[in-house]
């Protein structure tokens, strides 16, 4: 117990420092972005573009978090071990937080780039639906008292929710998209100076997610321990 506490503290400190370095790299070190044919983007858009170092990693982490929720849900249904349920719950909470970060940072970028806070582009629409899916997930959890039943139902919904994400995306893709595509089969939309910063930020956010997850799971486990102790003491 003591050793795992120490490891978690170390990881937390490393993640905190890594985020500070990421902010410095993204805001100061990374070269200003250029347009598709190498033209200058203008001051507003050049500044706004730096959001990519937080926006894309947040999107990656939110999807990773919901994927972990699904895997943990399957784990719970197969084994009935409560730790899986705690992992699913914790990961979904972090996923929702990062989903809000994605929607918020995207809106801030869209105002100078598209001249609007919001459009019904497939990716934006899909993210809104994803947000609603996991709000529903927590409403479902909140409407049941029996822990075993809550865990089972939430696990089933967690699987359905994540499977529906790509299907929703493709169903809306029939509409024309204006969202920039960063990766495709032929090229990668970042200049050589931007790439290292981008991947550094991606790694930092992944580490941040893992630290959040460990903390959140520990919190939930402690909470359950307290409940048990209360019961033993007759509170």
């Amino acid at each position: 117990m003591q050793r795992s506490e120490q490891t978690l503290t170390t990881l937390t400190v490393i993640a905190g420092l890594a985020v500070l370095v990421a902010a410095y790299l993204a805001l100061v070190v990374a070269p200003p972005a250029l347009g598709p044919s190498g033209q200058n983007l203008g001051p507003d858009l050049t500044a706004a573009q730096r959001i990519i170092y937080f926006h894309v990693p947040s999107a990656w982490v939110s999807m990773l978090a919901f994927a972990v929720t699904m895997v943990a849900s399957i784990g719970y249904l197969r084994t009935g071990n409560q730790r899986w349920d705690i992992a699913a719950l914790s990961s979904a909470e972090i996923g929702i937080a990062f989903t809000i970060a994605v929607l918020g940072s995207g809106s801030v970028w869209a105002k100078p780039a598209w001249n609007t806070w919001w459009t019904w582009d497939p990716r934006l629409t899909t993210y809104t639906i994803v947000f609603l899916l996991y709000v529903s997930y927590f409403m479902l959890r909140g409407s049941m008292d029996d822990p075993a039943r809550r865990a089972r139902f939430a696990a089933v919904y967690g699987i359905f929710a994540f499977v529906s994400v790509p299907i929703t995306f493709f169903s809306i893709r029939w509409w024309r998209t204006i969202h920039p595509v960063l990766f495709d089969a032929q090229n990668f939309g970042l200049s050589s100076g931007m790439k290292p910063v981008f991947f550094y930020c991606l790694a930092t956010f992944t580490l941040l997610y893992m630290v959040f997850l460990l903390h959140r799971m520990r919190l939930e486990e402690t909470r359950e321990e307290v409940e048990e102790l209360k019961e033993q003491l007759g509170y």
């Binding site: 899916l133 139902f153 029939w174």
Partner: protein
């Protein structure tokens, strides 16, 4: 008792119960009709060509009415304690799921069969062709497949009726988007070939979620 025999028995039970009370059908149909009429009033003054909003209207009316019917499907089983009886019956539990799904599908299709001619009369449109009906059928299957398992979940929670649409609609978005899209394309004069891709997509959705529901239904009804 083999699997499909059991499924058939459950569907038949639901049909007979419904034939006596007509609870589900009447409330679903009246609600669907009311939503179409409310939409008509809501849009009439601003929309020049009502044809352009009919696909959305049709699919929203079906979703609302379908949610109402799905809510009843398991509430009835719970209130009279018949779900316990079904679970005790010596058969595969997936048979309960498919039986209830087929029952829900059937009730929704009957409601659509009555609603469709009325929409055609109200808006002077022709929706009675094989592609239109195929689109409706596949969309409704998707609705019933996902709705039935979520209805079994929602009925066991404190919020009950309120929770079902909240759980159901975000997962149902692909069916609604593709369904309204295809109905609109057909109304605009596109042919069957043009909607084939969308149609296959909805079929894919139906299959994926039917398999997923089949795999997880046991955990939902387990006590």
């Amino acid at each position: 008792m083999n699997f499909w025999h059991a499924v058939g028995a459950i569907v038949w039970k639901d049909i007979r119960a419904e034939a006596r009370t007509k609870d589900i059908f009447s409330s679903m149909f009246v609600f669907a009709l009311l939503s179409v009429i409310v939409f008509n009033f809501a849009f009439q003054l601003r929309v020049a060509d009502m044809k352009s909003v009919v696909p959305g209207m049709l699919w929203v009316a079906i979703s609302f009415a379908g949610t109402l019917g799905l809510n009843r499907a398991f509430v009835i089983e719970m209130d009279k304690g018949s779900l316990a009886g079904l679970l005790l019956a010596p058969m595969d539990r997936a048979a309960i799921y498919f039986g209830k799904t087929l029952g829900n599908l059937l009730f929704m299709l009957i409601v659509e069969a009555v609603l469709l001619p009325l929409i055609m009369i109200f808006f002077n449109l022709s929706l009675f062709s094989v592609p239109h009906l195929l689109v409706l059928l596949l969309g409704t299957i998707g609705f019933a497949v996902v709705g039935t398992i979520f209805s079994a979940i929602a009925v066991n929670t404190r919020a009950r009726d309120v929770l079902l649409p909240i759980l159901l609609f975000p997962v149902l978005v692909p069916v609604l988007v593709s369904g309204a899209n295809m109905t609109g394309m057909l109304l605009d004069g596109y042919g069957f070939r043009d909607i084939l891709g969308n149609l296959q997509f909805v079929l894919f959705y139906d299959l994926v979620f039917a398999v997923l529901a089949y795999l997880t239904f046991d955990f939902v009804v387990e006590e």
